[in-house]
């Protein structure tokens, strides 16, 4: 099977830490978290969340972000482009609003409730050759990127637009609260005093193409695995995450020692961080700089894979290691955590995404060969 190279040529994002990817990267490097406390989502309880500040309709903000990506590109339109969406809740926020107002389902439009509500919205603004939507909880958009990679690598498409998106919904906020994993302040991934995660919303859009542009970063490898352990808890030894990272490196023919930065899933929950740190340590030891950027962005759930892919791409373009804000005393004493943004010459960056059901995805990015 012939393999084409896959390039990330254009991207844009919106999240609580920035209305553009440039603003987001600046916020990460200067420790400006977008996480704030809110008391209106859970009765009698204040929790810290990542909410996009300006008032917006999902459809208009999503379409605007995609238009910015199209404007950056050499494409005139998306008519020969495959749309690949990754989302964990799709149109749930709209369904919730209607149901909690009406107390019945009658006015809920099934087309706007499900995951493909996102593709349905985008079809009003753009024409795509085809579309497909993935929903694997918090790995949704990492898997969307993996599918886009495969479509180009195997020569089916020349361009794929990947959209990662999730909005804040009561279902996810109260659901994670029911699991006891929400923090009341900004999360502290990998710290001994971490006490939970921050649910957040975000949109991240990347255009993958088979031909490079001057600033392209290459998507070199994808690794997938399943923990086969528990619905909501990762395997304690991180075996699933380890397998996904090994497969991504194998796919790209890259040795662990060549990786210059790992953007960890690093949610700030007890279970995730211990398990993931164990996996990273067993594959990379103390050599590779590691950080989680979720203390700045929060956990954007289905959008996280795409958002953190953009962070890896920008880190490679700028040759800057993004720091792990609020990490004071690491629980794992071996890993080489990045505490402050710093210039660093490196060729490859790995992004981890881990999800409910033990779904694991690792993406390997690099400077063009």
């Amino acid at each position: 099977m012939p393999t084409n190279s896959v390039y990330v040529n254009c991207f844009e994002s919106v999240c609580c830490a920035g209305e553009s990817s440039e603003a987001l990267f600046e916020a990460i490097c200067t420790h400006q978290s977008g996480i704030k406390s809110f008391s209106e989502f859970i009765p009698n309880k204040s929790i810290a969340l990542g909410k996009i500040e300006k008032s917006f309709s999902i459809e208009s903000l999503l379409a605007f972000t995609c238009k910015k990506v199209l404007a950056q590109s050499s494409l005139e339109n998306f008519e020969n482009t495959l749309l690949v969406v990754g989302s964990s809740v799709g149109g749930m926020q709209m369904s919730e609003n209607i149901f909690l107002r009406d107390h019945h389902y009658q006015n809920i439009d099934p087309k706007l409730h499900a995951i493909d509500a996102i593709a349905h919205m985008l079809s009003k603004h753009f024409t795509f050759r085809d579309d497909i939507s993935f929903s694997t909880a918090c790995t949704s958009s990492a898997n969307a990127l993996g599918y886009g990679y495969e479509m180009i690598a195997k020569g089916v498409y020349e361009s794929v637009l990947v959209v990662g998106i999730d909005t804040l919904s009561l279902t996810t906020i109260r659901g994670f609260d029911a699991l006891g994993v929400l923090s009341s302040h900004t999360c502290q991934p990998f710290d001994v005093k971490r006490d939970g995660m921050n649910v957040a919303e975000g949109i991240a859009v990347l255009l993958l193409e088979n031909k490079p542009q001057p600033t392209s970063i290459e998507l070199l490898g994808v690794g997938n695995s399943s923990d086969a352990h528990h619905m909501a808890h990762p395997s304690p030894d991180g075996a699933g995450a380890l397998s996904a990272m090994q497969k991504a490196l194998h796919c790209a023919h890259i040795a662990p020692s060549e990786v210059g930065y790992i953007n960890a899933h690093g949610t700030g929950t007890q279970a995730n961080d211990t398990s993931e740190a164990c996996a990273i340590e067993s594959l990379f030891g103390a050599h590779v700089p590691v950080s989680s950027t979720k203390s700045i962005t929060g956990h954007t759930l289905g959008a996280a894979g795409a958002l953190e892919a953009i962070i890896c791409v920008m880190a490679l373009q700028k040759q800057i290691l993004p720091p792990n804000t609020h990490l004071v005393e690491p629980e794992n004493k071996t890993l080489h955590f990045v505490h402050e943004a710093k210039a660093h010459s490196f060729r490859y960056a790995l992004s981890n995404s881990l999800a409910f059901g033990g779904n694991n995805t690792a993406l390997l990015f690099g400077l063009p060969q």
């Binding site: 809920i108 029911a178 059901g357």
Partner: protein
């Protein structure tokens, strides 16, 4: 690009209301585990038990509406200001059913879930065809579990509220023997229709091959 898939085995389940699964106790003997499974997970377990030639490997699954019962439980709890069930929440993600398959059968391979409205089954076949180019045998699944209280408020066209289809596939160079089209059975969800058509017709053919246009 056109990819031909050989259908090595197939199975389907359809229920006008709830699908009866008489073998589920034998298939998942541990009671506490069985009680945690969603209906979609139980349907997937039953389907996996009915197909041949799949001894673990990659799985692609599709559902337009995912885990509707747990989603509705959560919405109703929020509406009534009641505490949410943590189990309902962890079982509400679209990849719940196949994640339970991975846990029950210790399958540590790539397992992906799609949700593409009426195009779900067709897209599972497309994604399956793309993946099958690597040369392995894949399990393709799709399901809908719409049998929840009040579904008649939004459902005006689907008669079979519970359904599931499984296909075991691998890539082949041989010519297609079965046209890829929607099932002729009225009242089935569009989201399973193309896969159902394959599962309904494949067993009658000596060699069942479909052409998937990516």
């Amino acid at each position: 690009m056109r990819v031909n898939l050989e259908i090595l085995s197939s199975a389907y389940l359809l229920g006008v209301k709830s699908i009866e699964l008489p073998h589920i106790k034998e298939l998942v003997p541990h009671m506490m585990t069985r009680r945690r499974l969603t209906k979609a997970a139980k349907i997937c377990v039953e389907l996996l038990n009915r197909v041949e030639h799949f001894e673990g490997g990659r799985i692609l699954c599709g559902s337009a509406f995912g885990e509707l019962e747990t989603t509705a439980n959560i919405l109703n709890a929020i509406d009534k200001e009641e505490p949410l069930s943590p189990t309902d929440f962890q079982n509400s993600v679209y990849n719940t059913a196949v994640s339970y398959l991975s846990i029950l059968y210790h399958n540590q391979n790539e397992i992906l879930t799609l949700s593409c409205g009426d195009k779900t089954a067709l897209n599972v076949l497309k994604a399956g065809a793309l993946k099958a180019l690597d040369g392995d045998t894949l399990l393709l699944l799709c399901f809908e579990t719409l049998d929840i209280a009040g579904i008649e408020q939004v459902n005006h066209c689907i008669d079979y509220l519970e359904s599931g289809v499984a296909l075991v596939v691998r890539v082949t160079e041989r010519e297609a023997t079965l046209k890829l089209q929607k099932s002729e059975l009225k009242g089935v969800p569009n989201s399973i229709s193309e896969m159902l058509h394959v599962a309904q017709n494949a067993p009658q053919l000596e060699s069942s091959i479909i052409e998937v246009n990516l």
